[in-house]
Symmetry: C2
Subunit: 249 residues, 2 copies
């Protein structure tokens, strides 16, 4: 069977950014959502397609107290059980060991501070980093995709007056771990088509603290700017790799 | 009387980009349109406000065979007479010598090539450069403004996959002349308000060869992206001055 479009786009990212080498130990940040699940499916397929010694591939699901509250099938059931159960079967079929770490992001909040998506994701990222360092992983694979990257670009431009975003490869200065984003050439539509074809659903964060107004605004801006066209999104991404310093303010 | 907003925005550009020094010889590219006319008004006022030896200030109007055809008051009248006449009085009142160069952009077209806005503007720019070099000007002041700069950014990103635009200051590699764009912090709305208050009209190019579809598309994209907000346009411009190379693809 031919490679699905999502795998071709990921192959391009892995190759152009030299994301993976034989001997790497890769930890997937598995949120339970469609993006990181599609990423896990891709990395498992890549490992099988690649000859040679390959790389070590495992995943960590950082479970917070907010997880899947709306989806818990039994009232009072341990929060988050659903999300983990849903992806557990898939990861097992793909041969990817799936670990779980329980974190209470509310407990970690300093007195007087407001709970936010930013705080929650920072805490989950910290947990992911610590787990990677403790267990000898040198790469953390995240499910951020083309739309996420371009939305963050617009959020940073209009919010901070800064040209920056989440790069496909990020080397931490302080840690011997690097972040890779193999979905950087995949947009939401491509991922939805892929996960629907694979028959797995998506999870939506349902905590009561969400205030995504900045991201929602950026999403609208991106849609208006590109009319949702994949080709236009790719061109915008490409322009960020092709900066003419002499022809900028 | 307080400085009008347009002059304050121009003052900021001249200061932040160190656009003008005492002893400079500045040639304004005077198209006859509102932008370069507002620019001339500003530079003349700046010269008066500045103490010291100041700078030499003159202007060149490059007249093509297409100019003001629709506005010629007498059928068959020499094309372009109107445009020149319209700004002549203003420039004279501002104490800016206004020169005219007649150029037939059609005659210069190589056989088989199509006439375009790009070709016309290239020819007019060449004429401006030659005049500046011949008459000892070291700076060419152009009327491109914030919207022009951001539209060009979007045209280059989506058309060429390149992050570039018209910078506020551009040093030519081959010539001892540099281009300055003191209107870089002024948007169209600010300029229209300013020229209306000054009582001078705007001219529109009416040649039959126009195919501005790319620029029109970029104009739409910019409007969708910023909702026409001056603050958002400034933030986008600012982000181009604040590029975080480690956080880009």
């Amino acid at each position: 069977m031919a490679n699905p479009p999502l795998y071709r786009a990921c192959d391009r990212a892995v190759s152009e950014y030299a994301m993976l080498r034989d001997g790497d130990a890769v930890l997937i940040g598995a949120s339970g959502g469609k993006d990181s699940t599609a990423l896990a499916g891709y990395l498992s397929s890549l490992l099988k397609r690649r000859g040679g010694p390959g790389f070590r591939l495992e995943a960590l699901h950082v479970r917070t107290e907010f997880e899947s509250r709306a989806e818990a099938s039994v009232p009072g059931e341990k929060l988050g059980a659903d999300s983990f159960r849903r992806i557990g079967g898939l990861f097992s079929a793909w041969g990817i060991p799936l670990h779980v770490a329980d974190v209470s992001v509310l407990d970690r909040l300093k007195p007087g501070r407001k709970m936010s998506c930013w705080w929650c994701s920072t805490q989950r990222r910290t947990e992911l980093n610590n787990f990677a360092l403790k267990h000898g992983f040198n790469k953390i694979a995240l499910g951020h995709h083309l739309d996420d990257i371009l939305e963050t670009l617009l959020m940073n431009a209009f919010g901070k007056g800064e040209l920056s975003t989440m790069p496909p490869v990020l080397h931490y200065e302080k840690y011997p771990v690097c972040v890779i984003r193999p979905l950087c050439f995949c947009d939401t539509e491509m991922i939805i088509r892929h996960t629907k074809a694979g028959g797995y659903s998506s999870s939506v964060c349902t905590c009561a603290y969400q205030d995504n107004s900045f991201r929602k605004e950026a999403r609208k801006k991106l849609a208006a700017l590109t009319c949702g066209s994949y080709r236009e999104k790719l061109m915008l991404f490409e322009s960020l790799r092709n900066i003419k310093n002499g022809y900028l303010p």
